[in-house]
C-alpha cells in the first residue's frame, strides 16, 4: 500500500524537526565539552599544590594564585552573607505576605530587570555607592555588597520557587491549630523550603565567584602580597587575576600557562559548586514525600 504523499511530507517534516533538535543538543554539548577540554589541556600542567598554595612571585610571572583563591572565597562568602538573608526575606514578602496584585507584579518585574543588568553597571554602582559615597574604599566589604546585589535576583528567584513548593496544606494545617502566620512561616514553611533555597542559591555562588566587572572597581587588587586582615582590605580575586594577566601585564605571552591554570581553577570551583547543588537537589527530590 502506497503512503499518500501528504503523509510522506509530514514524516519528512517531523524527521527534519527531530534532526534539528538533536543537532542543537549536540552543538551545545560539544561546545561545552570542547571548552572544558581546551581549558583543561592548557591548564592542567600548571595546576599543582604549590600553584594553589603559594602567592605570585616575580611580578606575577611565577608562583601561585593562593591570594586570589582566598580573595574570591571571601568575596563570594560575603556576597552570600549579604544576599541570602535579604533575598529570603524579599521572597517571603512576595510569596507569603504581599497581596498578589499590581504592586507585587511591579516588584517582580524589577527583580527580573535587575537580573538582566550588565555586570559592569553593578561595578559602577558599587563604586559610586560603597567605595566613594560610603567611603568603604576598594575592599572586601564593597565587593561583597556589590556582588550580593548582583546575585540577589538569583536568590530571590530560588527562594520564591522553594517557598511556592511547600504545599499549601502545610500552611493550612498550622494556621488551623491557632498558630500565627509568622510562626507558621518560621516553623513550617521555611524549614521545608530551606533545602530548595540553598541549592538554588548555590547557583548564585558560581555567578558571584566568576564575575570580574563588579569587583574591578570595588574590591580587586592588581597585586597584594599580604593577605587581607579585615573586610576593609583589598584582595586579589581569580577572575580579575586572569583579566590582569591576559591584558595588562608586560608578559602576556609568558604568563599564558598561569592564565590557563587560573582559569582551570576558577572553572573547576564554579562547576564543582554547581555539581554539588545539583547533586543535593536530586537527593532532596528523591527523599521528599509529599
Amino acid at each position: 500500500m502506497a503512503i499518500p504523499s501528504t503523509m510522506r511530507w509530514r514524516y519528512f517534516k517531523e524527521g527534519l524537526f527531530f534532526a534539528l533538535v538533536r543537532l542543537s543538543a549536540l552543538v551545545i554539548t560539544v561546545s561545552l565539552g570542547g571548552l572544558l577540554l581546551y581549558i583543561f589541556l592548557n591548564g592542567f600542567r600548571t595546576v599543582n599544590w604549590a600553584f594553589l598554595t603559594l602567592p605570585p612571585t616575580d611580578s606575577m610571572t611565577k608562583g601561585g594564585i593562593m591570594p586570589a583563591i582566598l580573595g574570591t572565597f571571601y568575596l563570594t562568602l560575603g556576597a552570600i552573607a549579604v544576599a541570602l538573608p535579604l533575598g529570603i526575606m524579599s521572597a517571603i514578602y512576595l510569596t507569603e505576605y504581599a497581596k498578589q496584585g499590581p504592586i507585587v507584579r511591579i516588584i517582580r518585574i524589577g527583580v527580573n530587570c535587575l537580573a538582566g543588568v550588565p555586570s559592569i553597571v553593578f561595578g559602577l554602582f558599587g563604586l559610586g555607592l560603597f567605595v566613594v559615597f560610603l567611603q568603604f574604599g576598594s575592599c572586601i566589604l564593597s565587593g561583597a555588597l556589590t556582588l550580593g546585589i548582583l546575585i540577589l535576583p538569583t536568590i530571590i528567584g530560588a527562594s520564591e520557587e522553594a517557598l511556592k513548593g511547600v504545599p499549601q496544606t502545610f500552611r493550612e494545617a498550622s494556621l488551623a491549630l491557632g498558630v500565627s502566620k509568622w510562626q507558621t512561616i518560621y516553623r513550617i514553611v521555611l524549614p521545608n523550603a530551606l533545602p530548595g533555597i540553598l541549592t538554588g542559591s548555590i547557583l548564585g555562588i558560581g555567578r558571584a565567584a566568576g564575575e570580574t566587572a563588579p569587583i574591578m572597581f570595588t574590591a580587586a587588587a592588581f597585586y597584594t602580597a599580604k593577605l587581607p586582615s579585615s573586610i576593609l582590605d583589598e584582595v586579589m580575586a581569580l577572575p580579575f587575576h586572569i583579566y590582569v594577566l591576559a591584558t595588562a601585564g608586560t608578559h602576556i605571552e609568558e604568563t599564558r600557562p598561569i592564565q590557563y591554570g587560573t582559569v582551570l581553577v576558577l572553572v573547576g570551583l564554579v562547576l564543582g559548586v554547581d555539581l554539588i547543588a545539583i547533586f543535593i537537589r536530586s537527593f532532596i527530590r528523591k527523599r521528599k514525600r509529599w
Binding site: T169, F170, E172, A173, A176, V179, S180, R289
Partner: protein
C-alpha cells in the same frame, strides 16, 4: 420551657459569604449544639466547606473574601474587629479532607501547636501526646514509633494523627471537612467510630459527601443547595421524613 441558648456553642446568624463578587453562601442561620455531631450535606459546590471554614476564620486566608452577618461563638461574634482569628482557631480545631501531617515525627506533630501556645514542660507534653493519641484511637499503633516520621503512616493513620493533633489543642469544637473521603472503608469505619466517642467531649461539625455516613454518625443534619440552607433538622427526620422535597430528592439520589 428549656431554652436552647444553654446548649448551643456556635450560632450562625444571617450570614452571607462572598468570594470577590461571587456569593457562595446566602442568608445562613443555624446553630450547633454542644456534644452533638452536626452533618453538613449537599451536592458538591453548594458551600459546605465554605461554611465550615467560616466557623474558624480559615476563609480569612483567601484574598477578597467578605462576610456579612454574625457567627456567635460563646457569646461573641468571631468576626468582630477585636477578635484575633488565632485565638478562635485554638478553640475551634479543624481536620481536612486530605490527611496533612507535617513532615515531622509523630510526637512533634502533636506537640507543635501546644508548644507554640506556650506549653513547654516535657512531662506535660508527653502526657498530652498520649492522651491525644488515645482519644484518636491511634496510641496502640504508634506508641513505640513516636519519633518516626508521620509521613510513614498509612492514610488512615495519618488522618487519625491529624485528629489527635487537633485534639491536642484542647478545642471546644472540631470541624471536619470530608475527613474520610480519601480513606479506605476500614479506616473510614474507625474514624466514624471515633467520632461517636469524641462527641462526648467535643462539639463536632462534619461535612460529608456520604449520605450513609451522615445518617450513621450525626444527630443533626443540614442540607445545602447552591449556597442556601434548605433544611436543618434532626438527622433521623431528614433521612426518613424530610420537610422539603429537594432534601428528599437529594437523599434518595434523584440528583446530586
Amino acid at each position: 420551657m428549656v431554652t436552647v441558648e444553654d446548649t448551643r456553642v456556635i450560632y450562625v446568624k444571617n450570614v452571607n459569604f462572598y468570594y470577590g463578587g461571587f456569593r457562595a453562601l446566602t442568608d445562613i442561620t443555624m446553630d450547633f449544639e454542644q456534644n452533638r455531631v452536626t452533618a453538613l450535606i449537599g451536592p458538591s459546590g453548594c458551600g459546605k466547606s465554605t461554611l465550615l471554614r467560616l466557623l474558624n476564620r480559615m476563609n480569612d486566608l483567601i484574598d477578597g473574601t467578605r462576610v456579612e452577618g454574625e457567627v456567635i461563638f460563646e457569646g461573641n461574634n468571631i468576626y468582630d474587629a477585636k477578635v484575633d482569628p488565632v485565638d478562635i482557631r485554638r478553640r475551634i480545631g479543624m481536620v481536612f479532607q486530605k490527611p496533612n501531617p507535617f513532615p515531622k515525627s509523630i510526637y512533634n506533630n502533636i506537640t507543635y501547636g501546644p508548644r507554640l501556645a506556650g506549653l513547654n514542660n516535657r512531662i506535660d507534653l508527653e502526657a498530652l501526646v498520649e492522651r491525644s493519641l488515645r482519644q484518636a484511637v491511634l496510641w496502640d499503633e504508634v506508641k513505640d514509633i513516636l519519633n518516626q516520621s508521620a509521613m510513614m503512616l498509612s492514610g488512615g493513620q495519618q488522618q487519625r494523627l491529624c485528629i489527635a493533633r487537633a485534639l491536642a489543642m484542647k478545642p471546644d469544637v472540631l470541624l471536619m471537612d470530608e475527613p474520610t473521603s480519601a480513606l479506605d472503608p476500614i479506616s473510614t469505619a474507625k474514624i466514624e467510630e471515633l467520632i461517636q466517642d469524641l462527641k462526648k467531649l467535643y462539639t463536632i461539625i462534619i461535612v460529608t459527601h456520604n449520605m450513609q455516613q451522615a445518617a450513621r454518625i450525626s444527630d443533626m443534619t443540614g442540607f445545602f443547595y447552591i449556597g442556601k440552607l434548605i433544611e436543618f433538622n434532626a438527622t433521623e427526620k431528614i433521612f426518613t421524613k424530610p420537610d422539603h422535597k429537594q432534601t428528599e430528592d437529594y437523599i434518595t439520589g434523584r440528583f446530586g
